[in-house]
């Protein structure tokens, strides 16, 4: 009788365990992964057997608090296999379809492919091709070619960035070519490709200058960056010297011609800290200086931009704050014009796919170089939804208050993707 009892109990136990296992589909995935790994390992066996090697004993691996086991010194393989360098050019792309409706009267300037004199329209905006090429373990090339849609649905091609980069070590990294300037944090981190940024659009002050932004966003020259030995403070420096040629369309819908700054050589010095104690935190600032002659006119100006930023960016949270003062000193009259500006953006990821965000931006342009901007400020609220790792949907509402014209509202939708 007890034999029957024991066998019955054992059978029940095994059955139950089997049922429990059947309720865990993740184990099937694990088994599949293991099978895949076994197949991979089998493929490597022939090569591995050709090598002279002995397994490190389990005792050695588990030995507590001892020096690393003295493993035989084996010279790095002289085989032709180069894991570290991928020959050839790697392409990636970013695109978007945007819809914008606005009740601005008169309509604001049509930029980024939106139609002129229209209160609502679709636009593709900027389509960007990113090119990377690995030359050797220290040198690489980065390119960014942008196809910008015009209001007439034509496209203009622009080489936004083309850089030969060389990293000697963490303290000295050199870039030669055309770059996005370090005049702002946003300009350095977010490039063309709306998928890369949380919001539908860039804050006006850090918008690319050929889309109406106020800062010199591009230059051709040399950029030097690196770490400063500073322990847990994590200091980094930026030095840039180059030639910019800023031209910006007006944004107020007045139909005024583009403003050509005719910039001279520009210099940027920047410093920022990324403390070890709080990964994601960065605080710093930069100073930009060049000389301009707007529209080739009679006035010559010294242009300086002082910026400061405090950001906290992790995969889940984003809190970006950046402030500026743009100063123009007129050589002929001795007058000084200061344009303060700032923006602040906060967002948090909810449930893995949703990211609501809020942004406030402010510009008080008091300079003959920005006659169309004047005082503009207002909030934006939006929601980003990640369909997958490649496609994001965004919806955003803006309210913009203007000192010389009535306030207006805008509604934006965007399908942003990478490929």
């Amino acid at each position: 009788m007890w034999r029957i009892f024991a066998i019955g109990s054992l059978a029940a136990l095994l059955t139950g365990r089997a049922l429990a296992q059947n309720t865990q589909p993740s184990e099937l995935d694990t088994i599949k992964a293991l099978l895949q790994e076994v197949a991979d390992l089998k493929a490597r066996v022939a090569a591995l057997e050709a090598r002279h090697e002995q397994p490190v004993t389990g005792e050695a691996a588990n030995a507590p608090a001892v020096e690393p086991p003295k493993q035989p010194e084996v010279a790095p393989s002289e085989s032709n296999a180069e894991f570290g360098v991928f020959r050839g050019i790697k392409f990636a792309g970013f695109g978007a379809l945007s819809f914008k409706a606005s009740d601005a009267r008169p309509p604001e300037s049509a930029l980024l492919g939106f139609r002129d004199h229209s209160s609502s329209s679709f636009a593709v905006g900027d389509t960007s091709l990113f090119i990377t090429s690995h030359l050797n373990s220290k040198a690489s090339v980065l390119g960014e070619i942008t196809f910008s849609e015009t209001a007439e649905q034509g496209f203009e091609i622009d080489v936004e960035r083309l850089l030969l980069k060389y990293e000697l070590n963490d303290y000295l990294k050199l870039s030669f070519g055309r770059y996005h300037t370090a005049v702002s944090y946003y300009n350095q981190v977010f490039h063309h490709g709306q998928w890369l940024q949380t919001a539908v659009d860039r804050p006006l002050v850090v918008e690319f200058s050929d889309h109406g932004g106020l800062l010199p966003s591009q230059a051709v020259g040399v950029s030097v960056t690196g770490q400063v030995p500073s322990g847990h403070l994590g200091l980094n420096y930026i030095l840039e010297y180059g030639t910019s040629d800023t031209h910006r369309p007006t944004v107020d819908g007045s139909g005024s011609a583009e403003i050509e700054e005719d910039n001279g050589q520009s210099t940027i010095v920047g410093l920022f800290a990324r403390p070890d104690g709080l990964p994601g935190l960065e605080a710093g600032g930069s100073f930009y200086h060049d000389r301009i002659q707007p529209n080739g006119g009679p006035l010559h100006m010294g242009q300086s931009v002082v910026s400061a930023h405090v950001v906290y960016v992790t995969p889940r949270y984003e809190f970006i704050n950046e402030g500026f003062v743009v100063q123009h000193n007129v050589q002929e009259t001795g007058q000084t014009f200061n344009t303060p500006a700032f923006y602040s953006l906060i967002s948090a990821k909810l449930g893995g796919r949703w990211r609501p965000y809020f942004r406030y931006q402010y510009v008080n342009a008091n300079s003959p170089v920005f006659p169309d901007v004047k005082l503009r400020h207002g909030p934006s609220a939006g929601l980003r939804y990640e369909l997958n790792d490649y496609v994001a949907l965004k919806a955003q509402i803006d309210r913009t208050l203007r000192s010389s014209l009535a306030a207006f509202n805008a509604l934006n939708f965007q399908l942003a993707f990478r490929f």
Partner: protein
């Protein structure tokens, strides 16, 4: 007869309890010391020990060179591997999706020239670290073979108490 009936009843009760016990979800076993992941580098690398913070900085691309200007070459396992799961959960504190997006943004901001090399087995990880002088990878301590060097994390080797990659 009564004795026989009691025995059958007892058998059914105990069997049912055993069935229920068996159906309880199997608890995931606590990682043991033999499950530790070793951080391996090429033997020519003079570094023998790094901190957890430095490990994070290497695998986020914030630190890009070893001593003597030796460029760091990151090697990671493909999704589903335990090495990758531990890297994401213990070192980077990211999900798989967040990790992919992080590197896309990092590469196209121009901050780093490329993403880490993704490999499908520990054997190929070993081969990559042996081949690349600046190579670094996480690998099960049981799979460590000659031709690579295991370095300490926060002064600890795999198998010791409080080792962070378990």
């Amino acid at each position: 007869m009564k004795k026989h009936k009691n025995a059958v009843t007892g058998s059914i009760v105990v069997g049912a309890l055993a069935l229920l016990a068996g159906m309880m979800p199997a608890q995931s076993p606590q990682p043991k010391r033999e499950d530790d992941l070793a951080v391996i580098v090429n033997p020519v690398n003079s570094v023998d020990s790094i901190s957890s913070v430095e490990l994070r900085k290497y695998f986020t691309g914030e630190k890009r060179s070893w001593r003597a200007n030796l460029p760091v070459f990151l090697v990671v396992r493909a999704p589903e591997a335990r090495e990758r799961a531990v890297l994401l959960s213990h070192v980077l504190h990211m999900t798989e999706s967040e990790y992919k997006q992080y590197w896309v943004k990092k590469v196209y901001s121009g901050e780093v020239p490329r993403e880490p090399l993704v490999l499908f087995s520990n054997g190929t990880q070993l081969e990559a670290v042996r081949t690349e002088r600046g190579g670094i990878a996480l690998i099960s301590a049981k799979d460590v073979r000659s031709g690579v060097k295991t370095i300490k994390i926060d002064g600890l080797l795999p198998g010791t108490a409080d080792y962070p990659l378990r």
